[in-house]
Every structure is written in structure tokens, then in C-alpha cells.
Symmetry: C2
Subunit: 274 residues, 2 copies
DNA sequence: TCCAATTTGTACGTATGTATT
DNA sequence: CAATACATACGTACAAATTGG
């Protein structure tokens, strides 16, 4: 099925590999008595493929060369090629499809934020997606110095910690960890958070509307605990959205961190004022 | 098991190891004839420390137990402890201070976005920070399918690629990679981007104002190339802000990806409409 | 429906260089 | 220096999924 092209040297070269790959080379100086130990071969190959994706040379959902093609292109054993690809699968950049090939991973669900305080329930409902909420942890504890500062309460005040994992199609998508100000919101611990959205429960218990939100984006390595919660590799990069949410009277009601699984993203639109 | 007694503020420093550490244990079943090979010891210790930070038990800028304290607490060799800490330093979570100790890394610069199209120059000027812009790459090339789709031009149309690295205090902070629509903006390649902000140059060349911005946040592993550009570890998690920027007539003028070094973050405020 | 080719998934074995003991 | 353990790299073989004739 692969078209063949006659090169100037007169040899036939496979169209796919010649079109997709550039002139990158693998450094094999590990075993020689060299001064600089070059990285492992599978790491070098992963670097090459990663840059193809980051540089938009290999677009989303496109098929990358087969393991066999990469073997002959870089003169590597199949195990080495598979190991390189596995690194990128764990990062969420590639997806293997048995019998078909390996593909650049499609972006996952986009979550709208920015226009209003971020509510997972609201944004997913708008997209018509079905999701399940699991309460992984929930307890009441005295506030640590960090938590107290963010919630603007005295250290030692009772606060509630809530960890929810949201799943779409049985797959975990995000993990939300909330610290809740019980002083402004008593009665909250009696809520069934698998049914009632947190925003609704907070507004019901506090008797006031949610109004302000301060958002903070950063990136982190998932680590063991969140890797297990999200079903991704420990070494994967996850997106963090930290939010401080206030009621109409500017009292802080929630300090939360949302961990997005690799592939998930958050979108915002902005308009420059005239 | 989850409730934790809060000690007085002073005791956090005086009785570091007992107050700061919990009851975590290291699994040493690697060498025994066990069925499940447990992770390497330094990885397990890094996991324990990472969760202390992620769970806000160890606040920003606080001193973590000394290498010697960690040695005796977990019965590990100093090399193993140092290797664990190095992992977290590379992730940007910890910072070593020679002769003083190891500390939870402070957050870096916060970049405001959301209210208006994101301009690094404008937001940093507001904070009174001095920065330097280096043009790492700049060329004109026919648009690949991906680039053409985002810029809404025909594939093969000439577009400009621009990679700028911004530094504060001599340290790289972010890397901005822009694909520019030359059809709407001829004359752009003659600009000195170390002096004139891209937003100004675009508005000057196109004769129209920038008005709309679509933003997209996600997280990625830095990789070799961007690790070198940003001066961080290849395996570090970096924040990506992908932007599509349009002029008043809704023509796409720029499709850019901003790579933030670990520790940098982007902040936004939102208000719920009544 | 069946078959052949392609591609990924899995499980071995061997050799070699490095690091530790 | 020798023994051991480990990571890296290569090679082979076969199973399972997919596609197209």
C-alpha cells in the first residue's frame, strides 16, 4: 500500500518513512570510551518523536511510522523502539491501537473557564457529556497554617476537606480537592456530593451566592497518589487549576485545586476592550 | 487516621522530624524473592515528600527535614536521600540552599491573563519587572496542514515562525513560539523583536487592532529541546498556554504556544454575572 | 467466509557495560 | 580483584487485532 519513490541515488525508499522522518540521528557513543555518556537509545528516540509532535510536524490523530519502520530508520531493536514509544504513551502524547498502529493522541475534553467561576458540572452539562462523581475522601479537620491563610480563617478552625474524582465514560478525567470554610457554611458535611454539585450545596448552606473567583494555573508531575487517582503515569504532566472562591460579601468559601488528567485542557476566551 | 493535631507554630521548627513526618514507611521487598517489585527506594521517598507538599502539609518556603534527619527517619543512606531530593528539585518543588537546608520552592512570577489577550510585555511592565527578550529562532516557511488550519490560510501559504525566550534577572522564564499570518501582516519579518513587542508590530504591520483571543491551557513534559531553552530538567512539567489571536475583523493573525518554566503560573479573575 | 499482510502485544533468551559489594 | 546485581540493547518467536482482497 505504501507508494515508492525513486531517489536520486537510484534506490527505492519507503514513502512513509522518508516523508515523515527528517535527518535525525541516534548517538551510540555510550559504549565507546567517550567522555560524555550519551542518553539511552530509547530516550533519544523519544526525544526525536516528541519534538515532531511539539513542532506540529505530526498532527493530532495522525499515524506515526510503525515500529518496524522506526527499527530500520534508526537501526534499533524493536524492544528499544517500543520502550521509546511507551515513554510517550505514558506522557499522554501517543496512543497505541492494536493491529492499526500508533497515533498522536487526540486532545481530550476542553473545559471552559474564565468567564465565570469554574464549575465542572455546569460546563460538562453544556456539552451534553455524562459524568460520574466519586467522593474519594471527605473529612473535617483543623485548618493548617496554609489552609487557614487561604480561607482567611484562624489556624485551627474546623474546615472540611473534600476530594472528588469525576469520570466520563468510566474514565477518570479530573480530581478536585477542596478546602471548605465551614464557618460560612455549616451543614455542608451532611451533603451527598455524588448527587448535588458543590456550588449548589455551598449556596444552599451559606444562603448566599457565589460571585468571585481567583484562578491560578500551573503544571506539575502527577506523582504516585494522583497518578493512581487519575489512572495515569506517575511521571506524567498534569494541569492544575487552583481556585479561591468568594461569596457576594467577599468571604472565602472554598479553596480548591483541580488536577486535570493529561490530555484534558481548559479554554478561555478574551476580548480586548476598546 | 486522617485527623491531625495542630501543634503550635514554633514546634514545627523545634521538633522537625516528629512534627513534620507522619507514619510513612519504605518498602524494601526489592531484594527479597517477592512477587511484586517495589519501586526504587529514592523514588518511594520522593513520593512521600511530594505528597507532603501537594497536601499543603509542608507550606511554601518552609524548611524540610535535613538530609540527616531523613536518613535516620527512614533508615536510608545519604546518597539515596539526596537522590530523592534531586528528583523533586528537578521538578521545581524543592530548592536547596547551601549551608541552610532544603526548602519548599516559592512560586515564581504570576502572569495575569484572561481579562484581555495575553501579552507578556504588558503584564510584566505592570509589575515593574525588567526582562530581556531573545529571538531563538525566526524563519518564513510554507504552512503545514496543522498551522494552516489554525491560521485559517491555505496549506503551503508562507507563514512566519518566531521563537522568543523571555528572561527575568538573567533566568529564562518562558518560551513563546508563534506562527504568524503573513497574508494579513506583510513586512513583519523585518521587525526587531528584541525591541518592539510582537503585539505592537502586528498592529503596526496589519493596520488593525488586536481584539479577540482564544486561550487553551494544558500541561506537558518539557522534553530535551524546551528543557534546554528554559534551563529546566527534561522530565519537568511545564505549563502551556496556546493562543489564537484575531484582529477586529476576526482574521487570525497569530497562533502561539507559550511554555512556562516550572514554578511560573498564570492567574485570572472571574466574576459571576448576576 | 476465508486468507494473507500488517501491526501491535507479549514472552523469552543472550550479550555487554556499569555499579556495588 | 572477583562476584553479584542491574540496566541497556539486540534478537527471536508467537499471539492477537485490523484491514483488504
Amino acid at each position: 500500500m505504501t507508494a515508492r519513490v525513486l531517489k536520486s541515488e537510484g534506490s527505492f525508499i519507503d514513502d512513509a518513512s522518508s516523508a515523515l522522518m527528517g535527518d535525525e540521528t541516534i548517538d551510540r557513543s555510550r559504549h565507546a570510551g567517550d567522555s560524555k555518556p550519551s542518553p539511552a537509545l530509547h530516550v533519544q528516540l523519544a526525544d526525536i518523536i516528541r519534538e515532531k509532535i511539539y513542532g506540529h510536524e505530526w498532527g493530532s490523530n495522525s499515524k506515526i511510522p510503525s515500529e518496524h519502520e522506526l527499527m530500520v530508520r534508526f537501526d534499533l531493536a524493536r524492544g528499544t523502539v517500543r520502550r521509546a514509544i511507551s515513554l510517550l504513551v505514558d506522557e499522554g502524547l501517543l496512543a497505541r491501537r492494536h493491529g492499526k498502529g500508533t497515533f498522536v493522541a487526540e486532545p481530550g475534553i476542553s473545559h471552559a473557564a474564565g468567564a465565570r467561576p469554574f464549575s465542572f458540572a455546569a460546563t460538562l452539562h453544556e456539552q451534553g457529556k455524562d459524568f460520574v462523581t466519586r467522593v474519594a475522601d471527605a473529612w473535617v479537620t483543623p485548618a493548617s497554617p496554609d489552609v487557614a491563610r487561604e480561607l482567611e480563617v484562624a489556624p485551627g478552625t474546623d474546615v472540611m476537606f473534600l476530594r472528588r474524582v469525576r469520570s466520563v465514560d468510566g474514565e477518570p478525567i479530573m480530581c478536585q480537592e477542596s478546602w471548605l470554610n465551614l464557618s460560612e457554611c455549616p451543614g455542608l458535611p451532611d451533603t451527598d456530593f455524588t448527587q448535588e454539585p458543590l456550588f449548589d450545596a455551598v449556596q444552599r448552606c451559606s444562603g448566599r451566592k457565589i460571585k468571585y473567583s481567583h484562578m491560578h494555573y500551573c503544571a506539575r508531575i502527577a506523582g504516585k497518589e494522583h497518578g493512581e487517582l487519575l489512572g495515569c503515569d506517575e511521571a506524567a504532566a498534569v494541569l492544575l487549576l487552583e481556585q479561591t472562591i468568594r461569596l457576594v460579601d467577599k468571604k472565602v468559601i472554598e479553596w480548591s485545586t483541580t488536577w486535570f488528567k493529561p490530555g484534558q485542557s481548559v479554554v478561555t476566551d478574551a476580548v480586548q476592550p476598546d
